[in-house]
Symmetry: D2
Subunit: 341 residues, 4 copies
């Protein structure tokens, strides 16, 4: 037991709780020693106690300053990510940080520089990379099963829009929703870079979203340096649930994922052949992906292999979202070089 | 054009019309010269004229006696099959005959002997052998794709029961319905013979069927000489349509067919994921099979290759149906040797 | 029989033969009296004779001038379409014409004016509108099953590129391939007009296509006046066959088509679960659509209802293809108003 | 925390470990206090310690006699089940016991009587009842979605045969394999009783299995008292993995399950459309079912509702297996009344 990685988690909100429970239950060789949450209360304490977590604090610096803690898992609000990365890096701890790193390029760069300067590891929580379906497509591409990729097509639709209050602070659809798909495109292309994006959008779901300055329906074309094309379509509201599909088409074939269902049953009556709706919520749909990313993060730490979703990946996704926003606003294709200067 | 096979069709009921139209439209190298129907009327004549059929008669002997006609297609009522086979065989014509040949073993044998003695060809209309799905399974078995067959499983359910009046004369479920599936089992097994059958049945769809002395739901196990097992389940009424599936399981794998649908559309709404019902009627479901069997019959005549559904196959199917009936009546497994004596 | 529509077909190439055979075999109430082909030869004559077509000529004016002929089906080369439409319209005949009408807007307008001035009917052969799958999606939209359409997504990939020599004269991918999909988008949207297109393309399949001035991979976004978005992706080469799918997503749900397969068999062995490849060629995939469009054309003529693919539709598709070409060339979004001036 | 059910587990073999870990990780309101294993060793102790289990013993009576323990989970070898049930019942503890209870009817009855006399609860580990697919079919039947059930059809094939040494002591295919499916049939029929069974079998997979006195391929027909029919087919070896499907057909429709797959990806290349093989092993396939059954067991204990798989169910399954064995041996249908006397 002496060899277990000692972990501290910052942030015990929805995603912080998921990561913590997954670490406790499913990731061997890990001990969650401490949890910090700025809103620490009895409920969080009871939950943490029940999981056997010794230290429960409202002060994240207790984790940063604990010399026994080797890994910090950052699940706090986005505006705190960059600073916690810097602090943890300076304390020579390896870091898992939820996406996005930040919405400001210079703050992201500061964080990445701290990571680099201190020689620590940083893993960004692009959980969808570790989804059983999408990871399988990536493996097929790596194995050459579809030849050279020509088109990556992503369908990504939410079961319902978030509150307008959230949209006002999230940065909008490109930053809170499509950023996953932008990263997924790069992931499927093996990290090949995007040269140009073109974004089109509309307010078709709820006028209140438009009044808040955002769109609720979007289509984006990515042009990769090889000439390969990416297509993403997003909607804030698919009445049939959470629609998450990736298709990779290439010179040698195609790999296409379907949605995940709660069961395999076909019901036949005198009206139709039907099945139950797709898994409806991201916590269900990506439950396995959250576990897998934690397993792979700690495995990579242990094996000394590279992080499967780096700080650079986190930076690139934000840049792409920025370019999409600009493309939509100016109704023209936008080169990535225009953003990074 | 001089080389076309000259054909006469006996019987212009539903199936006779289908075969005739398929011959005219889809089978190259064939000329339907004559149609005979005991109930010849204006409507049949108009239909035949429109298809360019010269001879329209109420007297089948006009076809039998026409020296120009080389092939007779028998689509008249079952009780006339054996005699028409004998007559056509004696007139040295090749024969296509709808199934079943007859319900009486000695009459079947008389017909088969006439065929043999005259050296003509006989093809029995087991159309399901030529269904795109079932034929593909058979090809997979022949190619060794599933290794040695261990289990053949057939699901065969009608969209609705026939009139009770029909059931009273048809010989019942084993003779008018399961006979197809009994033949299909033998076909998939490459003609390997059945050693024993066990039939179970029930009246679950309509008590009137029970009162008529028949069952409407049945399950049969066939034991082949190699030890392989066949399973058939039949129902007179599947509210969702015509359910026709075959599964072949063996030492090296499995081939399983699904039903045929009118389209491939998935509909997703806030209740379910659905699709339109399966093809509902045998004329739709087996439309392609009827065409294919005629093509293959004439191709085999032309190439001098063997018939793909022989008189022997027709005889065997009737024997199996008899054994099933006996098994149900006596509530025990019945050896085929008990039937053929 | 006196009431049959008398038809003349101009052009006995591949598509002319298909339409002619479909008319003879599957469309009741129609008599194909004449076939004209500029390259009339023995083979065409034998084929026509066999189908019972009386008049066989190298001179299309024999059809145009035959007062008995009420309907002209134009299947000749694209450069002759506009003139034959004008001639047939002036001769007061109803017209079926293969797409595209022409590549020149003023010639198209001349043809459409002739149709209008003579009060005849014109049906453009957008056969994919009559595909069993795509027509079913359209019906679902019309029935309100998906609510208000938000996104129409079309995947359309050919099994292999045409000869480069063809690409040089066809007008390129947008005109010879995507034009179908551009029309399909408008069709699924119930004729709602497109406001703007954005096209991206690449040469990924064969450099020779690029040298000929064309692309072989393309993605297009259409913006409809309602704000709804269309997405089309095309590739000249899908090694797995002819990939033809449409997805319609709306406020109330989604309808998505799969490809068509030759059978429904799943093969399971110790390596994978597999099925045979999708239908590979447009003649197989759209065989039913060709029959359906002819049936619907003649039914509409008989019922006096509107044409289901009008000259206006033909014009619009060409305009969209022009806009796509301009968008690609100028690397910017192009308003349709820029094309029609 | 004071309200947690205190549990002791007897047997730390494969299935004992699964149940224990599931209890610790997934079942709220439960505390596993003790584990007993006759072969207790360092490895088991380390595993138990890591899970926070206080008591680790080779002597099951420590669990039986611990007054704090309210629930005993019996995962030891089959020959010990009956005695541990009796001991735990006499100690007034509620009981979860792995199937089968025993192979001897009188010993089973002794155990069930002890349970009854002591007024404790007994839940038999028919985990497949709690599989996401099969449970969903049962719910559909309960909801009346398929009307009155007419046919229950179960396909159940293992990825490979167990060692012949195991077959010699397991009681054979009907007792170690089909017993699950026999229970599943009764479960889907809502506990309706079977009147008669007919079993057919063969040695097709491995002659050594035949030499050991068992079969490796079997088909069974169950006749329920309502006349409904059950069909089960078993094979010891499906090269494509673990094939587990249930189909329920009734007067109002049909519900049919497919297998579970590790992902939803379709791979298309120039040879075929394929997907990865089905989940291969029962631990993967039924992982969720094991969790679900424990949750439902403790939920029923808490709510005071009835056990979802009772001792009676355990008894009935053994009776059915006995009847199948007799049917095969005597090559005739066997009434259940012949077994229970």
């Amino acid at each position: 037991m002496a060899d277990k990685k000692i972990v501290g988690v910052i942030g015990a909100g929805r995603i912080g709780k998921i990561h913590t429970e997954d670490l406790v239950k499913f990731v061997p060789g890990v001990k969650v020693k401490a949890i910090a949450d700025i809103n620490l209360d009895d409920k969080i304490q009871a939950w943490a106690t029940n999981l056997g977590i010794e230290v429960q604090t409202a002060d994240a610096s207790e984790i940063i300053n604990d010399p026994e803690i080797e890994v910090v898992v950052i699940c706090s609000s986005t505006d705190t990510h960059a600073q916690f990365i810097i602090d943890a890096a300076n304390a020579k701890k390896d870091i898992f940080c939820e996406k996005p790193i930040d919405y400001d390029l210079s703050r992201i760069n500061d964080a990445l520089n701290a990571v680099k300067d201190n020689g620590v590891k940083l893993f960004i929580g692009f959980n969808r990379r570790f989804d059983h379906n999408f990871m399988r497509i990536r493996k097929a591409i790596e194995a050459g099963d579809i030849g050279t990729p020509h088109i990556i097509k992503i369908t990504s639709r939410d079961p319902g829009p978030p509150p307008v209050s959230y949209i006002k602070v999230s940065g909008g659809l490109f930053f809170d929703m499509m950023i996953h798909d932008l990263d997924q495109c790069r992931y499927q292309m093996g990290g090949e870079e995007v040269e140009e994006v073109t974004a089109k959008g509309a307010v078709l779901v709820d006028p209140a979203i438009g009044e808040a300055g955002d769109i609720d329906t979007a289509v984006v074309i990515l042009k990769f340096v090889s000439g390969a094309l990416g297509i993403i379509d997003n909607s804030r509201k698919a009445v049939y649930g959470y629609d998450q599909r990736v298709e990779a088409f290439g010179s040698g074939g195609c790999a296409m994922s379907g949605n995940d269902y709660p069961n395999t049953i076909q019901f036949l009556n005198d009206k139709s052949v039907s099945r139950d709706l797709v898994l409806n919520f991201f916590l269900e749909r990506y439950a396995g992906a959250y576990i897998e990313e934690m397993k792979l993060f700690f495995k990579a730490l242990q094996d000394g292999t590279e992080m499967l979703a780096t700080g650079e990946d986190g930076l690139k996704a934000v840049i792409l979202a920025m370019a999409c926003k600009k493309s939509l606003e100016e109704n023209r294709s936008v080169k990535i070089s225009e953003i990074v200067g």
